[in-house]
């Protein structure tokens, strides 16, 4: 089964995993790597490699911020020839999309499914363009 590695500034990744598990149940193929305040590129790279090397099959990576250190370090691996998909701007809908895809065996379509997940709820309530509801 494909694995997912979450990388972030601080413990966003581990806490995001916990939040996802509140909804989705325990997730054994989601791993996290946190860049802690006292750590630099070297420490983070070692931690990431330790996780990635322990995985048997393919993996994909979600990172928290384009241009941030975790994303930059993982990007360098791709530039150096590693083959995996890296996404940034991670959020709960992206995790759910990944879990659903692995659950059902569908191809992953994170971007298509989750680009629309950032919504001003007021607009949605006003639009009132809901599907049929029979009274």
């Amino acid at each position: 089964m494909k694995s997912l590695i979450l990388v972030s500034h601080g413990d966003f990744s581990t806490e995001l995993k916990k939040s996802a598990e509140m909804i989705l149940g325990s997730q054994e193929n989601i791993f996290t790597v946190s860049l802690l305040p006292h750590e630099g590129e070297k420490e983070f790279t070692e931690k990431f490699d330790a996780v990635a090397d322990s995985l048997e099959g393919d993996y994909i990576v979600f990172s928290d911020l384009l241009g941030g250190t975790p994303c930059n370090i993982v990007s360098k691996k791709i530039m150096n020839g590693a083959h995996f998909d890296l996404y940034t701007g991670m959020n709960l809908p992206m995790i759910i999309s990944f879990v659903n895809a692995t659950l059902i065996g569908n191809p992953l379509s994170v971007l298509e499914e989750t680009k629309e997940s950032i919504i001003k709820v007021n607009d949605l309530l006003e639009a009132n363009d809901f599907d049929e509801e029979d009274e």
């Binding site: 149940g25 879990v99 659950l103 049929e132």
Partner: protein, 161 residues
């Protein structure tokens, strides 16, 4: 067959239902069966908001739900029926709706409830209704999310009452 799955969930449509079960079961209509919710505009708006894109929503009283289902209105659809408590579903069964299996998901705590699992709490009335559903041959299971193992609900219930 129009009824794809039936779930008891005190939160009705929320993360697990909207994001996991709907996708896993290929649901194209969620039906909330509840006499109270049909007259509560705020609760109805909340349910509409929580329903995933591309999935239709019905919010119906028990009687209306039974009438529509028995009239074959959803025969070409994949229907997920959700109710807060077993009494709604018992009434549907009594009205002739062919419910074969119910997944007991979340039932919230109250002062006089007993805990069956971490997420399922029942009061005396619920226990009686579950027994009646069981006697009517409805298979009662408990499975929070699709990755969890499906457990026999009546066995769980007997361990705790």
């Amino acid at each position: 067959m129009s009824i794809t799955a039936v779930r008891i969930d005190g939160r009705l449509i929320h993360g697990q239902v909207a994001n996991l079960w709907t996708t896993k079961l290929g649901i194209n209509r969620i039906m909330v069966v509840d006499d109270g919710v049909t007259t509560n505009a705020i609760e109805k708006s909340g349910l509409k908001l929580a329903t995933p894109a591309g999935v239709k929503l019905s919010i119906l009283s028990i009687e209306k739900a039974a009438t529509n289902i028995l009239a074959g209105k959803y025969d070409s659809q994949r229907l997920l029926i959700i109710a807060k408590k077993p009494n709604r579903l018992l009434k549907l069964v009594e009205l002739g709706v062919p419910i074969k299996k119910i997944n007991v998901g979340n039932m919230s705590q109250s002062d006089d409830s007993k805990s069956i699992t971490r997420s399922i709490n029942v009061i005396e009335e619920d226990i009686e209704n579950f027994k009646k559903l069981d006697e009517k041959g409805v298979e009662l299971v408990s499975q929070m999310v699709p990755n969890d193992r499906e457990e026999k609900f009546m066995d769980l219930l007997k361990q705790h009452i």
